[in-house]
Symmetry: C2
Subunit: 377 residues, 2 copies
């Protein structure tokens, strides 16, 4: 018998009740049954996004919703500010460049969070910037950017604020309306406890006004078409009905726990993970760590890829290595979605075995005790 | 107890073994387990598409893959020929127009199939046409276009042939390589017996050469990025792993039945449906009917929307009404995917009850016997 566990930053574990909801017979989308399900799921999403606005559901991965945000917010020739410093910040830049936008990068060293004053300075320097693209939780480096401070700055300018909240939704507080975020993008396979295949987008009034003006070519990800269909309790294109059936159950679980408790749980799991790896003599990579994922520096003399491989092949646990230029230099443990204290302890126990196996000096139990101390508090 | 049945042209019934495969715990996509599953699913797709080329898997509805076909095959200013005559032919035109292409429509009356000589004439008249867009099975009218003849014509010109095979795949023969189709687009929720959320695209060598040249903006649906990832047993963006787990099982079922038997079954189910409605005094709408869906004219004096509504609300059976200008004028019964003779007989029995209830003179059993006669042969 071999058990498999996901401690990777997506896809994440899916609760059995969600899996079973998705295994129910497919219903037709033009029925009162689907429309009732869809309405409930959308109400749940409004709660999760902390918004009075409509949340759009797209049959796509998160990257599809990111491209949707770009093509609905911008027009050819627009100058946009993109906070880089990680694979997903860079993805915003890539999408904007693919659509011929003029990208002004805010360069951040990997592992660092953007200083909101850098954003303020860039917006002062160029008052014609159409939009600012931010990654709330930069999964590739484990950094949580200070979105509240950034939002306060961008709100005072005509620029739109577009946020990739793919790994921050249902993990850290993101009051969409209160902070005045213009486009928030999410996806199913992170803390929303669903398989990949659904993406979300929520637009402010300014965001919708931009979508009306936007002149980039778009069809599948045309948010105006989608909004019109949702007003009639339908999606523009055939909806991923099974995933939406699962979404309803996942949202019920989150609502039963309560938003504040969901955020507190993620914070506690991340604190325990950080305490454990620190107790093992390892160093955190992110200076402003995200509760979604803990990035850890690979210690000198240890093969970083081997950590990920041994955990997976010997212990059945999927974590993530470093991406791109970070390959072999960091590993990342996610405590995201359907995860509790015992999942963290399992991951730490396996990490201790793995490090020992790879010749790193570790006293078994040191990481576990440090994590337990956090949970006991 | 109320049972629900799908006789609509998507989503269709999903076999229980496929539903259960999708309910298995989510696996991480960067594992040997996923890569093995993905490789098997792709081999099955090559069998289904009758191609030696790679079939791309996209997390999207079919419309997303259609847009992908346009942005990977074309460049700004291209003149393209689009066979209209139904909602999905019109969708090709809409997508092309959204991307600034110059659309030369081949107008077909609803319910008629294109005369391949019209395509030949249009290509002779304008030798600079970059691509021809065809809907193999036009679901909105129930028409099956003569793709083999169209392909033979287009192959003799420099134009690319781009085919929406969303409701024809696994229903009628479509030997992609043998007919020289340059782009074939499919989706999961039709005869492939899966929930919505996966789409497919298969390109010929000419199609790939066009993708290399294409200059329309694209990111999520960039087939070159996707091809590069698939060469490494991955998708470009997080794959819809649960749907792919279901796809593997659905393809196993189709392969066990055999392609010729799958086509013969659909042909028989459609023949029985046509015989039944004809025996009830109704008239078929399509002059060249598709085995995927049978479009029937609403008889004089009967409320067409009521037929769909009564079947759904009283009998638990989802069929489809007419779309757009066809609303209330036709209804459509699909015999698509996970469907057998008894599903057709159930649908016909319910249709007889429904017509009687709505005041149309019907002798119960006439449609059923006509269908049985077809099945007995």
């Amino acid at each position: 018998m071999k058990k498999f566990r996901l401690l990777a930053p997506g896809p994440t574990e899916v609760p059995p009740e969600v899996l079973l909801a998705m295994a129910r017979p497919v219903i037709h989308h033009r029925t009162p049954e689907f429309e009732a399900l869809f309405a409930e799921a959308r109400r749940g999403l409004q709660w999760l996004f902390q918004t009075q606005r409509e949340v759009l559901l797209l049959a796509a991965s998160g990257t599809g919703a990111m491209e949707g945000a770009v093509v609905n917010a911008c027009s050819p020739g627009d100058r946009v500010l993109v906070i880089r410093g990680g694979k997903f910040g860079e993805r915003w830049a890539e999408i904007c460049l693919a659509h011929g936008l003029s990208v002004i990068p805010v360069e951040i060293s990997y592992g660092k969070a953007v200083d909101p004053r850098q954003v303020a300075a860039a917006l002062r320097k160029d008052t014609g910037i159409a939009a600012v693209f931010v990654t709330h939780s930069e999964t590739s480096t484990g950094v949580l950017h200070d979105l509240e401070a950034i939002a306060a700055i961008v709100r005072q300018t005509p620029a739109l604020l577009v946020v990739d909240a793919i790994t921050s939704l249902a993990v850290v507080d993101l009051p969409t309306d209160a902070w005045g975020v213009d486009v928030v993008v999410g996806a199913s396979q992170k803390a929303m406890m669903l398989p990949p295949g659904l993406a979300f987008a929520c637009l402010s009034d300014r965001g919708w006004a931009a979508a009306e003006r936007a002149r980039l070519p778009r069809y599948y990800f045309n948010f105006l078409t989608e909004q019109k269909s949702q007003a009639q309790h339908q999606t523009a294109w055939t909806p991923a009905v099974s995933l939406i059936a699962g979404l309803k159950v996942a949202l019920d679980l989150l609502q039963a726990e309560g938003l504040a408790a969901v955020f507190a749980r993620h914070e506690r799991l991340a604190q325990a993970t950080r305490a454990a790896v620190t107790a093992l003599g390892l160093t955190l990579f992110a200076e402003r760590p995200s509760p979604a994922v803990t990035a850890v520096k690979v210690p000198e003399g240890v093969d970083g890829d081997a950590i990920v491989r041994v955990l997976r092949d010997t212990h059945g646990i999927s974590i993530a290595g470093g991406q791109g230029s970070m390959k072999g230099k960091i590993f990342r443990i996610a405590t995201l979605g359907y995860a509790d204290a015992y999942d963290v302890l399992t991951g730490i126990a396996a990490l201790e075995f793995t490090l020992a196996e790879l010749g790193y000096p570790v006293r078994l139990g040191d990481g576990l005790r440090a994590a337990q101390d956090v949970f006991q508090k």
